[in-house]
């Protein structure tokens, strides 16, 4: 049942234009849309999705290494892995890493690798806030937002080389271009609709994990209080809708948020684990 709901959601989310043109709800058309979306995504099979993700993750780690604190890294992996277990892709090789960078940001890499920066972690006030951000990133992986963007941009990025060749030959020049393109994407950002979708589904995943569902909205309020010109948030603000817009969109989910607002925030456990 959850899987069906997810497929329907996937169809709705990725074919908003098609949906708006429908005169009335037509289940057959919806099923067709879901099938087409499925087909397009299958162009990059899961093993290659994971492989591409590892190569992109390696580049991101080249930009900023992990915070040298094994306890902290394991803590963030526990929170993230628990959230991933509440989703439709529980068996991906989920990895969570805290990058040693002062900027406030988080990245989702295809195949199940999620990064959060030390700068963002240091502004958080509870495990529920951390869970909210990780859940947002997990949605990017579930919905294959980056993978689809890589696929869409592959034609230009590969300049003549076929995507098939780039997928087959891990060490080849075409693959290298694909990975470079996939890494640069984090400086350009995803579509705004992908980010808002990650917020909407992310708060649900945090609530499923038993956390206070207001964790993500709370982080967004913290970000909103910061100056967009601040170099610590410049890239994140450039690649995401403004926090006020994201909070406004979540306002529509108040009933769901309130139903799960009394769940644990785990502020104490959070502070015990983030200090060195």
């Amino acid at each position: 049942m959850r899987r069906i709901a997810f497929l329907m959601l996937l169809g709705l989310a990725t074919s908003a234009h098609a949906q708006f043109r429908l005169p009335s709800f037509d289940i057959n058309k919806l099923v067709d849309t879901v099938k087409n979306v499925g087909k397009a995504v299958q162009d990059i099979p899961e093993p290659e999705e994971i492989e591409i993700g590892q190569d992109v993750a390696s580049r991101l780690l080249g930009a900023a290494p992990l915070v040298p604190n094994p306890g902290l890294q394991r803590y963030v992996n526990n929170v993230g892995r628990w959230l991933a277990a509440q989703t439709e892709r529980p068996d991906l090789p989920w990895r969570f890493g805290v990058l040693d960078a002062p900027q406030l940001n988080a990245f989702a890499v295809p195949g199940g690798t999620i990064f959060i920066t030390r700068g963002l972690l240091e502004r958080m006030k509870s495990e529920a806030e951390l869970a909210g951000v990780l859940a947002h990133e997990i949605v990017h992986v579930l919905q294959k937002h980056h993978l689809k963007a890589i696929q869409k941009g592959a034609k230009t990025a590969l300049a003549g080389d076929a995507l098939g060749a780039a997928l087959k030959d891990r060490g080849g020049a075409a693959r290298d271009k694909l990975i470079s393109f996939g890494t640069e994407m984090y400086s350009r950002g995803l579509d705004k609709s992908d980010e808002l979708e990650a917020d909407r589904i992310g708060v649900v995943i945090a609530a499923r994990g038993g956390y206070d569902a207001y964790g993500l909205p709370s982080v967004l309020q913290t970000l909103q209080a910061m100056n967009a010109e601040d170099s610590g948030v410049a890239l994140m603000f450039k690649t995401h809708p403004a926090p006020a817009e994201r909070l406004g969109a979540l306002d529509k989910m108040q009933a769901m948020l309130d139903a799960h607002a009394g769940q644990p925030q785990l502020a104490d456990r959070f502070f015990q684990n983030i200090k060195r």
Binding site: G209, Y214, M226
Partner: protein, 158 residues
Amino acid sequence: MRTLLLLLLALPLLAAAEPATLIRATELKQEPATDAATVATLPENAAVEALQRKGGWTRIKAGASEGWVRMLALRFGGPGEAKKGDSGVTQLFNVARTGTSGAQVTTGARGLDADQLTNAQPNPAELAKMDGFAADAEAAASFAAKGKLSATAVEYPK
């Protein structure tokens, strides 16, 4: 004394009173609940001080009154209007990176700004290290149980 106590309670979730405004006319409640007594009705754009969050509610001070409003009715300073200037975190970081360590210097400018992302080179050693920190499903479930987190059925939004 009572104020001091409130401030202490607020500390873990809100480091200090943060200036904020209301994005709509809002009822100030005595307790963080819809059915709690209404202390006052605050107008749109009212300037308040946010003290503490509890679930979907934030305790605020508005003039002489204190009480709770829906957290989503609050907006902290918007981009550009809030804290002026740069916190300087990245400058400090770059100095540290290119400082005395020769090893750091030879790796070039690292960090997560747009240019640095574009020019990033693979770091397989860190990737392997990250694999070593992974949690399996069983460990994560026991971690969740220790925090009294229970998996809950929640539908995705339509």
